[in-house]
Each structure stands twice: as C-alpha cells, then as structure tokens.
C-alpha cells in the first residue's frame, strides 16, 4: 500500500513548479510517478504503472482538496449473476469508498437516506484499466486496483450428457 504514499509524495512535490508556471501547461507540467517509487513496491501486488506522463488536473479543476484524502477503487465489475448478458462486462470502473460516520444516515423526517458525501453517487467507467488509473492519477486520487476475477470455463459438449462412465452410477438425472 505504500505505493499510494509514494504517489502522494510525488504528487505534492509536483505542485510547486505547477504553481510557478501556469503558462506552459500541457507537456511541461507533468510528473512521472514511475520514477520515484520506493523499492518495496515490486513486492506488493502493485498495478502495472502506466507509462504515460500524468498531467495533474486537480490543480486547476477546482475540486475540493479533501478529495485527495479519499481512496477510490479501480475494478472491473463482475457480471450480475442474475443474468447472462455479457455486454459492458469488460469495462473498468472507478468509484469512491464510502465515508465512515458522516457518509449516510437515515433522515428522521421521512426515513430516506441522506448523505453528506457528494461523491457517493459518482462512478465512472473506462475502457481499460490503464485509462482508469491514468484518470485517477490525473485527479490526484489515491487508488487501489482490484484484480479482475479469474474465469475458467472448460469446453462444453452436449455429448457429455451421454458419456459412459464405468463403476456405479453416480448421478440420477431428473430432467
């Protein structure tokens, strides 16, 4: 997890030069988060670092600075097991961890949920993991990349229903 801290340091150190030179904005104001990763980084299940330069967008985006202290999760949502459709299944998503305590409460008036967390409804989809990570870095968010789950479906065959197996009968089919 020290990757996050490493990145945080990298990000804050880059703020200085940015403040100084608003004019040269596009390429000059980049920070390479790959260069100053600490050594133990390779030991932790760390995501592949994007090779692109990261332009820090949150300096001018006007986003509240508190957002920098919140973690987002980058993950690939799994298919809803209620349905079979695979569409949108390969997208990556970013959303925020909920706030402990003040995040949500039941409103005493109507019993609906109220929230003081303006990011709780935000979720973003990306075409690839790298895109999502790049976006999170640009915004200066701490992120955690969750590996996508493993899928191993063997070749399936109708004829398997009628395979002969020696020995006692092990299944009674009631279909």
């Amino acid at each position: 997890m020290s990757i996050l801290q490493a990145w945080r340091q990298a990000a804050t150190s880059s703020v200085g030069p940015i403040r100084g030179s608003y004019t040269a904005f596009d390429r000059g104001l980049t920070t390479k988060s790959t260069s100053n990763s600490p050594k133990e980084l390779s030991d932790i299940a760390a995501p592949a670092q994007p090779t692109r330069d990261v332009m820090v967008a949150d300096v001018i985006s006007g986003a509240p600075s508190q957002l920098r202290h919140r973690a987002v999760r980058v993950y690939q949502p799994t298919r809803n097991t209620m349905q079979c459709g695979q569409a949108k299944g390969d997208r990556w998503r970013i959303d925020f961890d909920i706030l402990q305590g003040g995040g949500r409460w039941e409103n005493p008036l109507m019993g609906w949920a109220s929230s003081a967390d303006y990011m709780q409804g935000t979720r973003m989809s990306f075409r690839s993991k790298e895109d999502a990570i790049h976006f999170a870095e640009k915004q200066g968010w701490d992120y955690y990349v969750q590996q996508s789950t493993v899928k191993r479906i063997p070749p399936k065959n109708y004829a398997e229903n009628y395979l002969y197996r020696p020995g006692t009968l092990r299944i009674m089919k009631t279909k």
Binding site: I44, T78, N80, I98, Q100, T149, N157, P166, T174
Partner: protein
C-alpha cells in the same frame, strides 16, 4: 398474420460475406498437437476464431464477440438444449441450429445476426411468451430478467394466441423459507433441475410431464434441503424462482452494488453486497473460478437480515447489573480505569479473537497487547487458550495447501473430522463435481455425515487413521495408488483431545508418501478452516506463548468473541467486548464497544487457502459504531501506549512487515515442498508419543444456519433452522388452503 420484417433493425450479413472467403488456409491440423488441447478455427460473422476442440458452437460465438441469447445454456451446468433461443445460421445447414447443443466444427461458417436467425428467435420467443404471464410489474425479477430483455429485442408487441382456456396455470411449489416460487412464470429451461442434480446434489428436484405440461417440482411435498439452494434464484432466467426474504423489498435499479468478501465461512467467497440507503438489501455471488465459481451458500446469501437486529450502536458501560450507554470517551476511560483497577500485569492481560475479527483489528490488538507486556493471545475456540498443536511457524501446517480449484485435480480424497458440506458448502460442490465427472474416490474418518457424494467410511476416531495408515483397507490401497491424493483435515481436529496424536500420525504418513502427497506441483495435505478470521490469526501469530497460556487472566479483551465458554473467564476479571452484535460475548462484558460488521468496513480477510482479499464497505456502520482497528488505536492512546499507525495505509504497512502475503491481495502463495515437509517434520517431532484416547471426531457444526452472531440474529436463518434442521412445518406448506394473495 404476416409479420413485416424491418430491414433497419436487421443488419444483413451479405456485406461481410466477402471477407470470409479464403479463411480456410489457416486451419490447423490436429495431428500436430496433443489430442486434448487441439484447437479448431471457424468463422463467426466473418470473424475468424480459434477455440479448443470440443467446444460448443455458442462458446465459439462468444469468443468472436457475438452475443447469443440463451435461456437454458449455462456455463457451469451441463448442456440441455431445450429452449432453442440460441439459434444461429450455419452454412450449408438447411435449418437454424441450436448453438449450445452443436459442437463447433472446424472451418464452418456461422452467422449470428441474419434475418433468418432473427425470425427463428422471434418464433421461439413467441412460443415462450404464449404462456408467460404479464407479471413484470409485480415480479421481483423485473429489471434483471433475461426473458424481459430478450423480449425487448425478439418479442412481438401483440399475441397471436387467443386460447379460450387462457394461459397455462401451474401450482406453486413450496421449496422452503428461502426460495419463493411462481411457477406460472417458468419457461422450463431446467437450469434449476440441472443445478440441483449436478451441483447441489438434491436429486428430488425434477420435472414431471412433458411439453406444455412439463412441471418443475420436488415430486413429493418436500422442501429443497440444500445449503446451496439460494443459487437457483440466480440461475432462473425468469421470475419463477425468486428469493423469499427479498420478495418485494427492492428493485435492482435502486441498489448500489459493492464488491466485497464473505465471512460466513473460511472460503472467502466473493460477494456483491447490494444496498439501498443505509441497509443491505441482498447479497449476490460474484463469479471467481479461483474461489467460489458462481455459487454461494445460503448462509452467505440470506443471513444479511441479521445485520439489522441485535446491533450494538453505542458504547455501553456496566453499572451494577445493567448496561448504561456512554460516550466513546467515557467508555475508553472506563476501560483504562478497569485495566489499572484489575491490577493485570504482563500475561494477565488476555485478548481473545473471535470468528468475525478482521485482520487489521487483530494486528492492532496483538500489537497493543504485546505493548502492554502480554503474550496471552487466545482464539475463540475449544482449547483456544493454548498454543495450537500444528503451530503457526509454517504456513502449510494450517492452510488449505492444495488450493480450492486444486480439489478438482485430486483423484482420491480423505476427509478427516470434517463435514465440508457445512464447513465450506461451496467447496463441497467442487468435490461433488469432481466425484461426478472423474473417478474420484472419497474416504471419511470421523462422525458419519450426509455428504452430496458417496464415501468409504473408515471409522470415527484416531484409531481408524492408524488403521488407514497400515494400508490394508480397500480405500487405503486406492489412496496409495492415486496420482494426486488429497487429505482434508477439518479445523475441529486441532480442537480434539487426540489432536496431537492425529497430527503426528498424519505428518508421518505424509512424510512416507511424499512422492505423491507433497511434490513441487502438488501439496495434498490441506487443513480446512471453518472460521473466516482463523487463517489470518495464525498468519499474524495471534496465539499464546506456552507460559502465557497457563496464566489466569485478570483483564480480558474479547474481539468479536461470541463462542467463549463463560466459565473460562475468571469471575473477578475485567472484561471488554468489542463487536457488532449483542450476543454472548457482550453479556459477559463490563464495557461493550460497538464496532462495524463485515459489510461496513473495508478490511482484509484471509481465506483457508491463505488468499488475502480486500472487502469493501457497502453501508456505514449504525449509530456510534466505528471500524474495529480504529477503536483499538483510540484505546491504545487512552491506556498510554499509542500504536504507531494513524491511517489504514500505515496499518497495512505494518501488516506487510508481519507477513507480505497479508497485503498481496487475490493471490495464493504456495509453500515450497521442502518447507512444507520441514514443517511437518517439526510437527511430528513435537508431537511424538502422544496417546490416542479414541474419542470420535465430532462434527463441529450441528446447525449450519446459525454459526455466528450475524446468522444467529437473522430471522431467515431462524426459519431455516426450524424447517431444515428441526424439520418443522413453519406454515408455508398449506398452499392449497391459504388465499392465493398470500403467495402472489
């Protein structure tokens, strides 16, 4: 009625035809590779795909990125081929073919999106809808219904069937307190039957009649008694089988999905917590073929309503014989005072970690207790105050080394003192799968159990194990001859009086047969833990030292410990309980600290294979409750030895210091064969000369549905206990007599 096929919505495939020509040359010949892994190449919608030989055509189409509608085909069940929704056009085939029942043939050309295909699927849909009620507004499946979605594309807006008798009417079945049936909606895909037959091992669920009269049911009036029955709710492509506790509670589009990890058993099943506002509305499985495939047990799925009841919401301090709610400051100050007043020194300070303690909290608690000069770290189990017999120095001595998918590779399994059906229901389905499809042989030592597969019963106690080791019995011979034998030792064996003798015998046996049992590719000596927090506790060394285990504690800290024997806690000791439910542990306490349940905190869980996984909070904890490790961190300051971590990243750095595997998420780290053998060697040296008392290995779980504070607080689990464990009729069976509205 003539239906006009609109050409706008039907992309014609003629434009793509040109590209297909000439793709033949890239076909591979079979002789060049081994017969099993040979690949074949075919063309789907003008795109060339290569799939393993023996795949179904629908798999080839999926590999090419074409979406095939389907109702009966399911990746994890056998193929039935009875809904005909998956029709595709194959070159030189006079009729459309059902792609799930058709093997993919090398060089064939397939189209999945032609007018012919559309027309065929529309025909199928029309017949399906002829008898399907227009229930969507009152159906729980609406919004995540395969039939609904596909009717949007292939359905017609009016019917051509006007039968005087109306639509087919089918009586609802009573499958117990978990699965609600509405059999009018059934489209007879038989997924539920195949699931019950193959995965759950409930052979009573089946079909009667044929054609339009085909019905799904249990044949006799009987409930569906299986730990996995909730999965048919997911499998049913329509709303015929829905969840009874969730009925009419929420719509899928109102729910917020949070991907998390289950803690009801030690498998660490991947789950998705669906919440609305501050409430967990339901729990769904997440597919992960390394852990739970697509299934979760009923306890995992339905115990969530226990999160609403019996919660501790404010800190409580005992005054006289009653609890008074207090502020956090007062409660923590009361603990600090109690600690000094009790006069506990060194090992007299005891911490007991329970079933649902998360890794972060256990690390913090261990650090705190160690800082206070104590080594008295106990586990909430029988004999948990003594060091465990298998030790914690070598991981392979307490983990499920073969890994969960590895169970399917085994060709002989010996179960010792365990009932996987109750201790890890999803793992049990893997054993059944392997038992059905390969020649797997299973042997059992321990109390007789009702598994979903046949087994050779070898005896009930440690003597049976010695007998097995002599290799005379039929099963022992088969086990010797097996290429990948697997020994699954239940976690209860370590709590048994014969634990030392059993582990001694086992370690010697493994040593003798290391050529098959422990090789670089295969480790067939596996311990099946049954409690979510236990592998992590062993991993961080949350066990007492020899000296500490004999000390009488004066200050006891119960971290989620609800199984403790009240008699084991000294009368005059000062007891703190930290946890989320007012269960047994809270009753014993002098101060109760309200903590978050597993759906309310993002913490690390280590499963029985040693795979650490990161859960995620879905809803905020109720009232004044806080995350576990933060409570301990705050307490450490009040008692005057602050812990050196301030946020969750720092505590994970600390975990990394203890064991890097704790923060290497989603992977298992195998132990090398040499280390595993060395660990067993040390174990056998430590336990030499242990005597066998001959007591039976009892199964540790008598009631699968109520094993922890959450499931004990759950109404649904109480109903399951009544109907499945005690076998009472709880009032749902008189379907014919009650007014129809009650079952709508």
């Amino acid at each position: 009625m003539l239906r006009i096929v609109s050409t706008v919505s039907r992309p014609s495939s003629t434009g793509r035809l040109g590209k297909v020509v000439g793709s033949q040359h890239s076909r591979r010949t079979f002789a060049s590779t081994s017969a099993k892994q040979a690949d074949i190449t075919l063309t789907v919608d003008g795109k060339e795909v290569t799939v393993p030989q023996g795949s179904a055509l629908i798999q080839a189409c999926e590999a090419a990125g074409a979406t095939i509608p389907r109702f009966c085909y399911h990746e994890r069940l056998a193929i039935a081929g009875n809904c005909r929704m998956c029709l595709v056009e194959v070159e030189r085939s006079p009729k459309p073919v059902a792609s799930c029942a058709m093997p993919a043939m090398p060089g064939s050309k397939v189209w999945t999106n032609t007018p012919l295909v559309h027309e065929a699927r529309e025909g199928v849909m029309e017949f399906l809808l002829a008898n399907h009620p227009l229930d969507c507004p009152v159906c729980d499946q609406a919004g995540e219904c395969d039939l609904q979605d596909q009717a949007m594309r292939y359905g017609s807006d009016r019917t051509r069937f006007h039968e005087i008798t109306g639509k087919r009417a089918v009586e609802n079945k009573d499958l117990g307190p978990l699965v609600k049936t509405s059999m009018n909606r059934c489209i007879q895909c038989t997924r539920c039957v195949r699931f019950a037959n193959e995965v759950a091992g409930v052979e009573e669920l089946g079909t009667t009649g044929r054609g339009n009269d085909l019905q799904i049911g249990m044949y006799v009036e009987k409930t569906m008694d299986s730990e996995l029955s909730g999965n048919v709710v997911d499998l049913c492509p329509v709303g015929a089988l829905t969840s009874k506790p969730y009925a009419f509670q929420a719509r899928p589009w109102e729910l917020k999905n949070t991907e998390s990890i289950d803690v009801m058993d030690a498998l660490g099943s991947n789950i998705r917590v669906d919440s609305r506002g501050v409430q967990v509305m339901r729990i769904q499985p997440r597919t992960n073929d390394d852990v739970n495939e697509e299934w979760i047990s009923d306890k995992t799925r339905f115990a969530y309503d226990g999160l609403r009841f019996q919660r501790l919401t404010t800190p409580l301090v005992k005054e006289g014989d009653r609890f008074v709610s207090a502020s956090w400051e007062d409660a923590l100050a009361a603990i600090a005072k109690g600690l000094t007043a009790s006069g506990a020194q060194g090992d007299e300070i005891q911490a007991i970690s329970g079933h649902l303690a998360d890794t972060e909290a256990m690390v913090a608690l261990k650090d705190l207790v160690n800082r206070l000069g104590s080594d008295n770290l106990a586990l909430d189990q029988v004999g948990g105050t003594a060091p465990p017999v298998h030790g914690v120095d070598v991981r392979s001595n307490y983990l499920f080394n073969s890994t969960i998918p590895g169970v399917e590779e085994a060709d002989a399994i010996l179960l010792i003192g365990t009932n996987p059906r109750h201790e890890a229901a999803v793992l049990n389905s893997r054993i059944r799968k392997s038992w059905l499809h390969t020649g797997l042989e299973v042997g059992l030592i321990g109390e007789r159990i009702d598994t979903t597969y046949g087994y050779d019963y070898l005896g009930g106690d440690a003597n049976a194990l010695s007998e097995f080791m002599t290799g005379k019995s039929e099963f022992a011979k088969k086990f010797k001859a097996a290429k990948k034998p697997l020994i699954i030792v239940g976690s209860a064996v370590a709590e048994h009086p014969d634990a030392a003798a059993t582990y001694n015998a086992l370690s010697r046996y493994v040593e003798l047969n290391k050529s098959t049992l422990v090789t670089p590719e295969w480790n067939g000596f596996s311990i099946l833990q049954r409690v979510a927090s236990r592998p992590a506790a062993y991993e961080i060394g949350f066990v007492p030292s020899k000296k500490a285990s004999t000390t009488k504690p004066k200050f006891v800290y119960l971290l989620n410990a609800d199984e403790v024997d009240p008699k084991s806690i000294p009368q005059d000791a000062f007891v703190v309980y930290q946890g989320h439910h007012g269960d047994l542990g809270a009753q014993l306490a002098d101060v109760c600290l309200p903590a978050a349940a597993y759906t309310e905190k993002s913490t690390t869980w280590v499963n029985t294979e040693g795979r650490s996984q990161l859960g995620r909070s879905a809803v905020p904890p109720p009232g004044a409750s806080r995350e576990d490790w933060k409570i301990i961190r705050a307490l450490s300051e009040v008692v005057g030895s602050p812990l050196p971590y301030e946020d969750v990243l720092e505590i994970r750095d600390r975990m990394w210091e203890i064991s890097p595997t704790l923060v290497r998420y989603d992977v298992t780290e195998p132990t090398s064969a040499e280390v595993a053998l060395a660990g067993l060697k040390a174990l056998s040296v430590r336990t030499t000369g242990a005597k066998i008392s001959g007591a039976i290995f009892q199964k540790p779980i008598t009631n699968f549905y109520q094993t922890d504070p959450i499931s004990r607080a759950s109404v649904t689990m109480a109903q399951c206990t009544r109907s499945f464990v005690k076998g009472e009729n709880y009032g749902f069976s008189d379907i014919g007599k009650a007014p129809e509205a009650a079952f709508a």
